[in-house]
């Protein structure tokens, strides 16, 4: 496995540079500036401690490989991606799972990150424990920063128990009726006409909720619902093949809306952050996380 030192050397301290993961969201935030050096993050699971519910892993590791490893011990991480997505890419994009309402957001997953900054120096954000308020939370800043503030080499992630089973149901119930039938459903998605519910947990509990939902007209789906990527900042109700998450307000859709504006104050604050972390703009040039 590539060491942090090798990763740091590849990044150097002067050229325009970007990390490529699985390339599944490669053009998110705008095209990469021409002539940018592209590097890969270290790959592989370094240390998995199920009893601590943490795993240390190279950011270049495929998310699916990691989830497979964890699921052997009935755990998982609350990140989402496609089959080629990497851990680092999922963090940089900040992809929460469609099960966010139950299992938490992507930003809660990253506990510690070994990174390389724009000055070509290595630094550590966060700490290796599941609870930590020591200093400023640079990990949260890195998640969804699209690799524009620092490049992520090795990470420690929070794992969680993987539910025994999960079931998708669909029907025409409204959210209130669904809420009456089940406790903390993992997903309640709406496509403009139908509602799709994902319930998960211990088998016996899920079975009972399934029966309740079937009694009120929902039907079990024979395979998992295919969900496009989450589009941050999107609130549109014209779903056009996408889904609105009725619990969180998130929109999942294939058509990314690049016209979403953040407020002037948020933009000003974000520009200052970028300027302070990467004064010459060499990290992932061309990409805008907002």
């Amino acid at each position: 496995m590539k060491s942090m030192e090798e990763f740091r050397e590849e990044i150097g301290d002067t050229s325009f540079v970007s990390v490529r993961g699985g390339g599944t969201r490669w053009n998110l935030g705008g095209p990469l500036r021409e002539g940018t050096i592209i590097v890969e993050a270290p790959k592989g699971v370094i240390n998995y401690k199920p009893e601590e519910m943490i795993v240390r892993v190279g950011a270049g590791t495929k998310l699916s490989t990691l989830q497979d490893d964890l699921s052997e011990l009935k755990q998982e991480v609350a990140l989402a991606g496609f089959s080629e997505s990497t851990v680092g890419g999922s963090l940089a994009v900040g992809s929460s799972s469609h099960r966010r309402a139950r299992i938490g957001a992507a930003c809660d997953v990253l506990l510690q990150a070994d990174c390389v900054g724009a000055d070509g120096k290595q630094f550590v954000a966060g700490g290796p424990t599941v609870k930590n308020v020591t200093g400023y939370d640079i990990c949260r800043l890195l998640v969804s920063s699209l690799g524009t503030l620092a490049l992520i080499g090795v990470v420690t992630l929070r794992t969680r128990p993987k539910p025994e089973i999960g079931v998708w149901l669909k029907g025409e119930l409204d959210f209130g009726e669904i809420a009456n039938c089940c406790y903390r459903p993992a997903s309640v998605l709406y496509d403009g006409s139908k509602t799709f519910v994902f319930i998960e947990g211990y088998e016996a509990d899920v079975e009972k909720e399934r029966v309740f939902l079937e009694k009120v007209g929902m039907t079990v789906m024979d395979r998992a619902l295919e969900i496009p990527p989450l589009q941050k900042g999107e609130t549109k109700k014209d779903l056009n093949g996408g889904f609105l998450d009725l619990q969180t307000g998130d929109v999942y859709s294939n058509d990314a809306n690049s016209n979403i504006e953040v407020s002037e104050e948020v933009q000003r604050l974000s520009n200052r952050i970028k300027q302070n972390f990467d004064p010459t703009g060499r990290l992932n040039p061309g990409r805008k996380p907002h």
């Binding site: 308020v133 200093g135 952050i273």
Partner: protein, 484 residues
């Protein structure tokens, strides 16, 4: 509030009175004394003018005047912080949020409540009773501490083990930045685009601006709760039980450990039914749907018995459950009766090393001839060694300080971190470079500077500054109704 009787009034005071009202601004000696401390061991703070705004516009006025007069400002909630976060240095304007205590709006369907920052944590929980929803973070100080303080310190509580600490429960924030502009961070409708500014503001310890309106996410009340009381004749067995519960895929809602000293102090008046001859008592709570709950109760019971638990008691009803928790919750009050002073530590270690580190904590206390009591959030490895002592005895404070440094050192050596929930404030600044390199701290400073380029909002805190303000000194009274 006392009206100023002085002949020449500070022009800043006059401007603040004009901006707010005479009865909500003071620089009187008594108020300055009260607002120079929080619940930490830090003495030596110096408050300037103290003001009590009631809404965002008034906070903007206070912050604008701080800019105009080139003064620092410190935001203060209830002052229950244990790291000196709201202790003022350099006569700053102290912005007290206790009059900003409106619960602005509760949206049951969206499970969001907008509150002002001075709302007391428990007041929100009480307000929500009967709605089927609650605000999950339940710091032990919840009868007194404010939601603004919870946000600033990213506070935890016994029930944050499964549900996550404050940061996981904040959807959006309205913030007055140190330059007095107002910004909304985060979003209540889906995840916000761009850098996670909401996420980094939470836990910023008041150094990134003032939270003036907070959208908290509400959590559904669980349909079923089981509370277990496990007692052990060795604390190491209790610690091992904690590790194994987690390793077996059970993440309880709460997993709290009390050692023999705590049990002895608590039981006589809490009458929670804790066995007085136990070396350690573990409270485990699991919640959710009935089958899952009984499954997890089974796993916990088996693990505890295999690790030598003498008894596993499951609360038969709500009354018994409340009694078990009452003992835990009154720990602080009970301990305070043993010695006049206390110093509560707050490091985190990997759960697997609990047993070994606790043994070392006892040794440290013994070496320094101090009494230590352990009552803590064992499930996430968050140690709370509580040193109780009498500061009037010469030389004691030095010993307490020394013992504290050793506790921090052994926690870091075990692969832990400086703080699990109390924050760094003034208390642990000097240890920051033991956990972080200079470059790590530079990254943190880059974030801070982005929010506060002029270093106006609660400066001198969190990052080692070289400048000192306040001393670890004698200790305060315990705020009423709080527990550790």
């Amino acid at each position: 509030m006392r009206k100023s009787q002085r002949k020449v009034k500070d022009p800043l005071l006059i401007s603040l009175i004009k901006a707010l009202s005479e009865d909500r601004v003071t620089d009187g000696a008594a108020a300055r004394r009260i607002y120079s401390k929080d619940a930490s061991v830090i003495e030596g703070g110096r408050a300037g003018v103290i003001c009590f705004p009631e809404d965002t516009a008034e906070v903007v006025k206070c912050v604008s005047l701080a800019n105009e007069y080139d003064r620092e400002f410190v935001t203060r909630g209830a002052g229950t912080g244990l790291a000196g976060g709201s202790v003022p240095c350099n006569d700053p304007i102290v912005i007290v949020t206790t009059r900003m205590k409106k619960i602005i709006d509760v949206d049951i369907e969206k499970k969001i409540a907008w509150v002002q920052p001075g709302v007391v944590n428990l007041d929100l929980s009480n307000f929500l009773k009967g709605t089927g929803l609650h605000f999950a973070p339940d710091p032990s100080s919840q009868q007194a501490c404010t939601i603004g303080g919870n946000v600033a310190n990213n506070s935890g509580g016994p029930h944050c083990l499964a549900y996550g600490v404050t940061n996981s429960h904040i959807a959006a924030l309205e913030v007055v930045l140190p330059d007095s502009s107002i910004v909304q961070l985060g979003s209540i409708e889906g995840e916000a685009r761009g850098y996670d500014l909401r996420g980094v503001f939470v836990g910023g310890e008041g150094t990134l601006g003032v939270a003036t309106r907070i959208a908290v996410r509400l959590t559904e009340d669980p349909p079923e709760i089981a509370t277990l009381l496990l007692d052990f004749s060795k604390i190491t067995d209790a610690a091992e039980t904690v590790s194994q519960i987690i390793a077996n895929g059970v993440l309880p809602a709460a997993l709290e450990l009390m050692d023999r000293n705590v049990v002895a102090a608590v039981e006589p008046f809490a009458k929670a039914g804790y066995p007085l001859d136990a070396e350690a008592v573990l409270i485990a709570e699991v919640d959710g749907l009935p089958d899952g709950v009984s499954h997890e109760v089974g796993i916990i019971t088996d693990i505890a018995i295999n690790n030598g638990a003498r008894e596993v008691r499951i609360a038969a009803d709500e009354e018994e459950r409340e009694r078990i928790w009452k003992g835990r919750k009154s720990a602080f009050g009970a301990i305070a009766k043993i010695k006049p002073d206390y110093y509560l530590h707050d490091t985190v270690i990997p759960r697997g090393r609990l047993a070994e580190v606790i043994e070392k904590v006892y040794k440290i206390a013994e070496t320094h001839d101090l009494v230590v009591m352990n009552v803590f959030h064992a499930g996430d490895g968050n140690l709370h060694p509580l040193l109780v002592f009498d500061a009037r005895i010469p030389g004691t404070l030095e010993k307490v300080k020394k013992a504290g440094e050793e506790i921090v050192r052994i926690s870091l050596e075990a692969g832990g971190v400086l703080s699990g929930e109390h924050g760094i404030g003034l208390e642990k600044q000097r240890f920051m470079s033991q956990q972080f390199s200079e470059r790590d701290l530079e990254a943190q400073d880059a974030l801070r500077r982005s929010f506060d380029p002029e270093n106006r909002s609660n400066p001198h805190k969190v990052l080692p500054t070289g400048s000192s303000c306040g001393e670890l000194n004698s200790l305060n009274e315990i705020p009423e109704g709080v527990w550790i």
